[in-house]
């Protein structure tokens, strides 16, 4: 008897919620998010199913998009502008860059509209709002996985044909590099989404800001081709060293340095922590302003 009562009591205590105006700044509320993991999974599923219902090609779009972009890049930047590609086959060079970049870009763009796009739902029911950005990150990671598989297929094909590509041990760092890239997209995204609840202008800035940012990242050009005067500027961009490391691991050419990677790592961590704290603070009262 006593035991059951104690258990009941424990179960009860788990669900005590205290609401008040005071905020604890350093509260990540990850436990709560974990309790809603099923919801996150269902959001991922929804995004995936809903995106391609009533389209003829369905998930094939995940493949068509990077292919067409890479072909365009190869023609415009490779053939016409003749930008060197660290002596790598231009197609693979652009493909690798685009795949990892689009992972970052889609995460950032989609996450940044979290509050605005879901305002009507947020106004009617509570769940940890972070479930939306997290599910978006997972969705775009799946899309990245598909594109990455395609990239690997091309890599094998090119290597088989004897192209000068040299996959090496840096490949093992790829999961971390990819995670950092996603975390950066998520971090920037939740910061923007938190700020858009107050400053709507930001949502306009995001779309073309991300486009411009691509040119500040060594996607269509290698870091080695950047003149000395601009190199530091490009390296201040935390994505730069990640893209270079990713390309170096699979293709065997690029500029990698532990110092640059450490900078990107710290940068990502700071952005992510600031983002989560800001987001959790905004979610408490954003319904009053949207």
């Amino acid at each position: 008897m006593n035991v059951t009562r104690e258990l009941d009591h424990a179960a009860e205590d788990r669900w005590v919620t205290i609401l008040g105006p005071e905020t604890r700044w350093l509260d990540f509320r990850l436990g709560e998010l974990w309790r809603y993991r099923d919801l996150v999974a269902l959001f991922v599923r929804r995004d995936f199913l809903a995106q391609y219902k009533q389209t003829i090609l369905g998930p094939a779009w995940h493949v068509i998009q990077p292919l067409l972009t890479t072909v365009t890049f190869t023609i415009v930047f490779g053939r016409i502008a003749r930008i060197p590609t660290d002596s790598l086959p231009p197609f693979l060079f652009y493909f690798a860059g685009y795949v990892i970049w689009s992972y970052f870009a889609t995460t950032l763009t989609k996450v940044s509209s979290t509050f605005i796009a879901n305002a009507s739902m947020f106004g009617k029911v509570y769940f940890p709002r972070m479930a939306i950005p997290v599910s978006i990150s997972i969705s775009s990671m799946i899309a990245f996985g598909i594109q990455f598989a395609l990239f690997l297929a091309f890599l094998v094909y090119f290597r088989f044909r004897g192209s000068p590509v040299d996959p090496n041990a840096w490949m093992l760092a790829a999961p971390i590099v990819v995670l950092l890239m996603g975390a950066l997209g998520l971090g920037f995204g939740i910061i923007v989404s938190s700020l858009t609840t107050r400053y709507r202008d930001l949502s306009n800035l995001v779309t073309f800001g991300v486009q411009l940012l691509m040119y500040a990242t060594p996607i269509v050009y290698p870091l080695s081709e950047v003149p000395d005067g601009y190199r530091l500027l490009v390296l201040l961009n935390p994505m730069s060293s990640l893209v270079e490391a990713f390309r170096f691991g699979f293709l065997g050419a690029g500029t990698v340095s532990f110092g640059h990677l450490a900078y990107s790592f710290v940068f990502t961590l700071v952005i992510l922590i600031c983002g989560v704290l800001l987001f959790n603070r905004v979610e408490r009262n954003f319904m009053d302003t949207v």
Binding site: D38, L39, Q54
Partner: protein, 425 residues
């Protein structure tokens, strides 16, 4: 044990905080502050009306109450009294500006049915998604899936995208999901306002069930009959403050008597404002059962007696007294007058005349109807029209015990005479 403790909760809104262009204002304010200038747009500054500190309103003020396990508490008050704000704070959609709230147990809020439904997904997929949004785990939904589908009555369409559903089907499915939510604390807003009469009845029935299972419910409604039948206790809010917290019947009385112009009134409505020298003066309209007691809740199988009490100071030729019956949706169901068959008013000058009209049994559908008394001089014009009289709440049923039917589509649901004629010889 108190499952809900609300301690001195206040909520302040800033008017006009919505919209763009605030970045510039914020930057300017920050600039002025760092230079120690007078801050622009301070209290009373009209130029900065969009963001000034002068435009704050208290939606809730020092709200303080406790609710014990298993209580079903109604929240009543006019529009803008703070009911929805309180519900939003309790369901964590927004935070209080001051005060503290303690909630013991899982909170399920039903401020809307079908939140997060995705039109492209099938009914099945939406059951899982919506269930999870409402706070259920996947295994919980799996366990209840068959019940949900059966309750919704849209079994055949579970693999059809929800965008092909009629709005009625969508609401039924959504409510079926919500009804299977099993939180310790359930917060329900005016969900009864959507859907047909049958749906409303179903909501009420389910809420009643929930409360019998010992869960705690806070229920916001404008339907006083619903509050009266479901809740033992009710809290009356006015201008963001708790005006009364007590037994439901007394709180409703207080609410209705303090707000003669708002919300439907049940049973009896008195009219005191007509001038003394009008020849015709309506005093009251009430609804009675056939046995004579004043009532607002009727079964569709019993007649409703609509009673008029009025003064007729001198004879008025061609006077017609009657009423309009309006459905909850606002549609006119019918209009009727006292002398449709024969003149009943043959004398004048009495203190009070009484006329009774009988709405026959087996005519009305389930749901709420409003009675609007009216009076006219035939061919001349209205003396009285568009006046709110009492409302009645009809519980629909059919005599055949093999079927339980809670309502029918349509504003009325008469039981017609059906027969199977024997073959002629």
């Amino acid at each position: 044990m108190s499952v809900i403790r609300v301690e001195n909760v206040s909520k302040q809104y800033r008017l006009g905080m919505i919209g763009a262009g605030t970045l510039r204002e914020d930057l300017q304010r920050w600039w002025h502050r760092t230079r120690n200038d007078a801050e622009p747009w301070k209290v009373g500054d009209v130029a900065g009306a969009g963001n000034g500190t002068g435009d704050r309103i208290w939606a809730l003020r020092d709200v303080d109450f406790r609710i014990e396990t298993g209580e079903v508490v109604g929240l009543v008050g006019e529009n803008g009294a703070g009911k929805s704000t309180l519900l939003k704070i309790l369901s964590r959609i927004t935070m209080p500006t001051q005060g503290r709230i303690e909630l013991h147990g899982r909170v399920g809020s039903l401020l809307e049915v079908g939140t997060g439904f995705h039109p492209e997904l099938t009914g099945r997929e939406n059951v899982f998604l919506n269930g999870a949004i409402l706070g259920m785990t996947r295994s919980e939904i799996q366990r209840k899936f068959d019940d949900i589908v059966e309750f919704s009555g849209v079994q055949r369409f579970m693999d059809t995208p929800v965008k092909r559903y009629s709005s009625g089907m969508r609401v039924r499915l959504a409510f079926a999901i919500a009804a299977h939510l099993e939180p310790e604390i359930l917060l329900v807003d005016e969900v009864l306002a959507v859907g047909d009469a049958a749906f409303q009845k179903r909501c009420l029935g389910k809420l009643d069930e929930v409360s019998k299972e010992g869960r705690t419910v806070i229920f916001v409604s404008h339907h006083m009959s619903a509050i009266a039948s479901l809740c033992k206790r009710a809290i009356l809010l006015k201008d963001g403050q708790v005006v009364m917290d007590g037994p439901a019947a007394e709180t409703i009385d207080r609410y209705l008597s303090s707000n003669p112009s708002s919300g439907p009134r049940y049973g009896e409505v008195r009219f005191a404002n007509a001038s003394e020298d009008e020849p015709f003066q309506l005093l009251a309209v009430r609804t009675r059962s056939i046995e004579g007691d004043i009532r607002a809740d009727f079964k569709s199988q019993e007649p409703v007696v609509v009673e008029f009490e009025f003064k007729l100071r001198r004879p008025m030729p061609f006077l017609k007294i009657g009423f309009e019956l309006h459905a909850l949706t606002g549609g006119l169901v019918f209009q009727t007058f006292h002398n449709d068959r024969e003149e009943l008013l043959t004398e004048t000058g009495r203190d009070a005349h009484i006329l009774q009209a009988v709405i026959p049994a087996d005519l009305l559908n389930g749901g709420i109807y409003h009675i609007h008394p009216c009076a006219t001089i035939h061919g001349r014009g209205w003396l009285l029209r568009d006046v709110e009289g009492p409302a009645i709440n009809v519980l629909f049923d059919v005599p055949n015990p093999d079927y339980v039917v809670l309502g029918r589509p349509g504003e009325i649901a008469p039981l017609l005479v059906w027969q199977a004629p024997t073959a002629r010889e």
